[in-house]
C-alpha cells in the first residue's frame, strides 16, 4: 500500500512485521503472569503492537524518507535498505540472535474437519481477522476522505497538493496504517508458527512485495489475490516437487506473468503522454 502511494519500495516493511511480532511477544510475556482472560490479553498485545509499529513507521518516514522525496528514487531505496538493516540489527541487539517462542498454551487447539481437511479454530480466527483487516483497509481507502486523498496522491502528488491535500499528513497516515497492518500480521504469525527471529521479516517482506507485484502494484484487491496465489503456489510446489525449489517456482511464475502481462495480473496500462 505504501508503495502504491509514494512510489517507494519499502524494504523495511518486512522488518516492521518482525518488530510487531517481537512487541506482541514482549507484551504477551509481561501479561502472562496476570491471569487475565486470554482474549483480552491477545487483544491488548495486538493493539499495542499495531500502535507501536504504526508510530515507528511514521518516525522512519519522517527521518529517513521525507527529506529525500524530491531526490532521486534510488537514494530513498538505499535509505530504506539502511532502515531495514538497522531494524534487523537493533532487534538482534535487544532480543538476541536466536529464536524466541510465543506461548503455546494461549490458544485453543480444538479443530474440526472440513471436507476432509483438519481445520483448527486458530486458522479460522486468523483468516477471519485477516479478512476483516483487509476489508477495513479497502473501505478506508475507497470511502473516506483521507482514502480519497491517498488515491489522489498515488496519481499525482503535486496536483493533490495544489488541490489542498495535506500531503505530509496523508503520507503519515499511510505509514501509520501500513505499520499497524504489518504488526498485526507479525503477531498473528508469531501466534501461529510460535517461533520468531530477527531475520523473519526479510523473507516476509520479499513475499509481500512479490504478492503486490504479481497482483499489480498499487491495487489492493490485486495484492490480496497475489498473496493468495503465492501462498497456494508455494504449498503446491513444496508438496508436489520439493520444498527446496518452492521459491524458484514462485519467482519463475512471477517472471513469466510479468513477461506476458508487464503490469501484473490486475494492473492497468499506464499511458504516457508525449
Amino acid at each position: 500500500m505504501i508503495y502504491g502511494i509514494i512510489r517507494l519500495i519499502n524494504f523495511a516493511h518486512g522488518d516492521l512485521f518482525m518488530v510487531g511480532a517481537f512487541i506482541g511477544w514482549t507484551v504477551l510475556g509481561a501479561l502472562a503472569g496476570m491471569h487475565a482472560p486470554v482474549a483480552l490479553v491477545l487483544i491488548v498485545a495486538l493493539v499495542l503492537a499495531m500502535a507501536a509499529v504504526g508510530l515507528l513507521a511514521v518516525g522512519i518516514d519522517r527521518v529517513a524518507y521525507q527529506p529525500l522525496l524530491r531526490a532521486s528514487r534510488l537514494s530513498i531505496l538505499i535509505t530504506a535498505l539502511g532502515v531495514s538493516l538497522a531494524l534487523e540489527n537493533g532487534a538482534m541487539i535487544i532480543f538476541g540472535a536466536g529464536f524466541d517462542t510465543y506461548p503455546t498454551n494461549l490458544l485453543p487447539t480444538a479443530s474440526f474437519l472440513l471436507g476432509g481437511a483438519t481445520v483448527t479454530w486458530i486458522q479460522v480466527g486468523m483468516f477471519a481477522l485477516s479478512l476483516l483487516l483487509m476489508a477495513g483497509l479497502y473501505a478506508f481507502v475507497q470511502f473516506t476522505p483521507v482514502g480519497t486523498a491517498m488515491r489522489a496522491l498515488s496519481f499525482d502528488q503535486d496536483a493533490a497538493r495544489l488541490m489542498g491535500v495535506n500531503v505530509e499528513g496523508v503520507i503519515m497516515i499511510t505509514f501509520l496504517l501500513g505499520g499497524g497492518l504489518a504488526a498485526a500480521s507479525g503477531v498473528m504469525m508469531g501466534l501461529y508458527y510460535t517461533q520468531i527471529n530477527f531475520l523473519m521479516g526479510f523473507l516476509m517482506g520479499l513475499r509481500a512485495f512479490t504478492a503486490a507485484v504479481l497482483g499489480g502494484i498499487g491495487n489492493i484487491p490485486g495484492a490480496m489475490v497475489g498473496g493468495l496465489l503465492i501462498g497456494v503456489l508455494q504449498a503446491f510446489a513444496a508438496g508436489y516437487i520439493s520444498s527446496q525449489w518452492q521459491d524458484v517456482i514462485v519467482f519463475a511464475v512471477l517472471i513469466l506473468v510479468l513477461v506476458f502481462k508487464p503490469t501484473g495480473i490486475f494492473g492497468e496500462r499506464v499511458v504516457e503522454r508525449m
Binding site: L74, V83, T210, Q244
Partner: protein, 605 residues
Amino acid sequence: MIKRAELLSPAVNRFGPLAALVLALLVPFMANLYWLDVAIGILTFGMLGLGLNLVVGYAGLLDLGYAAFYAIGAYTTAILTTLGHLSFWETLPFAIAFSALAGVIIGYPTLRLRSDYLAIVTLGFGEIVRITATNLNITGGPNGIYGIPAPSIFGYHLFSDMSQYYLALVFLLAILFFTHHLAHSRMGRAWLSLREDESASEAVGVPSVRVKLWAYVFGAIFGGLAGAFFAARLTAISPDSFTYTQSVNILIVVVLGGMASFPGVLLGAAVVVGLPELLRFMSLWRLFVFSIGLIALMLLRPQGLWPAAARTREPFRALGPPGDDEAPKISRASGAVAGEPALLVEGLRRRFGGVVAVDDVSFRVERGQVVSIIGPNGAGKTTVFNCITGVTKPDAGSVALGGRPLRGMPPHDVVATGLARTFQGIRLFKGMPVYENVLVGMYPRQRATILGSLLHTRGQREEERESLRRTRSWLRFVGLEGVAGVKASELAYGDQRRLEIARALAAEPDVLLLDEPAAGMNPSEKRDLMGLVRRIQGLGVTVVLIDHDMSLVMGVSDRVVVIDRGRKIAEGAPQEIQRNQHVIDAYLGSEEGAEDDEAVNRWPS
C-alpha cells in the same frame, strides 16, 4: 557562484587518478595481512560496482539480483578448474560467455518492464540462481566447491596475499578501462539518455531495447569476471556468497558512491567494505551503526559521495578553433525515391476508446516546403505527429517518407529513415550537458561498433571527433555554442526549445516535425524562431510544424493544413486558409455557438 569542487576539478582530473594508482600499488607495503585482505575485498566490490554502474548508474535499470552474474562467473571458474582441469585463465572466456548469456536470458524478456517490476524480476532471478546452486550436485550443493587452484603466471603460483592483491588490481583496472571506454562512447550516451527519458531517447533514434540489452550484457560480463577472480582467490565458494544481501551491497556501492561516477563507485566500494571492518570493535553494534551511518550519508548527500560532474568545461577544447568547412550540412540519406513527395500521409485514422482522435487525415508535403498543421486544442494535431513517427500505432492509413513506407516502424527506425521531431512539452535529457544532448541525436548516424566503443579504436575516435565537430556546428546554428557545457535543465525556456531543434537536426533528417515550437515564447523569440525555420529550410530540410501562433504559421508556411475534431477541414496556401469559411467557423466555433476566446484572439485581424 563557483563551487569549490569545480575549482578543484582540473587538478583532480589530471593528477587524481595517478595519485590513486600509486597509492593502490603501495598498499601491500603499508598494510598487514588483515588489511590487505580487506583491500582485496574493496577491489572485488569495486569490480562489481563498476559493472553494475553500467546497468543502474548509466542505463537506469534497477537490478536487485546482480550477485547472480557474480555467482555464474564464480561457479564457471570453480567447476571448470576442479572438474574440467582447465587453468584459471582458460576459464575466463567461459565465465564471460556464460554470464553474458545469462544477461541476455534475463534481459531480453524483461526489458519492456517498468523499473519497479524490473527490480522484483531481477531479484527473483538472483534468488533462482542462488537456490539452483544450493540444490544441484555439480555445484556442490550448500557446501559449495573447494580446492579451486590458485591462478599462475609463467609457472609462478599466485598464492600469497600480495600477489592476489595485484591480480585483483589488474582485474579492476581492466574493468575500469573497458567500462570507462563504454561510458564515453555512443553507447554510454545512449544509456544515459535512456535513464533520463526513455521515450524521448527512442524518438531521437536510440534503439532502446537493443541498447538496454547491451547494458545488461556488459554488466553481466564484468560481474562474471569479478566472480571468476573471487573463486580463484578464495579457492572455495558456496551459495552463501551470492545472496540477495550481496546484490543489495553492490547496489549500495553504486548509489552511495554516486551513480554514473567512476571515482564515486570506487569510493563507495571502499566505504561499503571498509566501514564495517573499521567498526569491528563494536562487535554486536557493528552493522547497526553501519546502517545508521548509511542512512545519514544518504540524507546528507542524496546524490552520492562523489557525484558525476554535470557540467563540462569547454567540451570543444580538443577540437581547436572551428575551420571554415564547419558549416552545418545535411548529408542525404540514400533511399528516397526521386519524384515522390517528402512526406505523404494517406487515410490516417486513430481511435482512443470512444474518441476518434484522427479520422481519415491525408496530406502531402513536397520537398523543401514548410507546411503547418493548425487547429483548435484537442483537434488531433499531436496524434497525427505521433502516428507519423511511430509513437502511436495508427488504426488505418499509411505514411511514406520520400516514397519509403514508415507504417509499423518503431520510432528509432523512423528517425534513421530520415524523419526527426521535437516535442510539444520539451523533452530534453535534462541531466546531461547541452552538447551531449546533441550528440545523442547523432546516434542513428554514427557507425562505431560495440567493439570499437569498447576499445576506442582509431575509427571510433575519429568518428567521435567528427561528431563533436558537427555538434559544435549545430549548436552554433541555433545560437547555443556558448552554453555547450551547461546542464540542459539550466537553460532558459526558449533555449531549451532551440536545443531540442538542434538535437533533432543532428540526425540529419529529410523531414523535421516541430510540435508547437513557439509555445511559451515571447514575440522577439518568435521572430528568431521564424528566422531559424527559414534557415532550416535553406539547408534543404522539409519542415512540418504544428502551432497555434498565426503570425508564425502565416509567416513561414508554404502550405497550411487545418484539422478540427480529427478531420482535415482545409488545405492550401496561407492566404486561402485565412479566407476559408470552414476554418473561420472552426476557430470561431459558430456552428456550436461555443466560444473559444483564445483562438479568436490568436487569429490575425
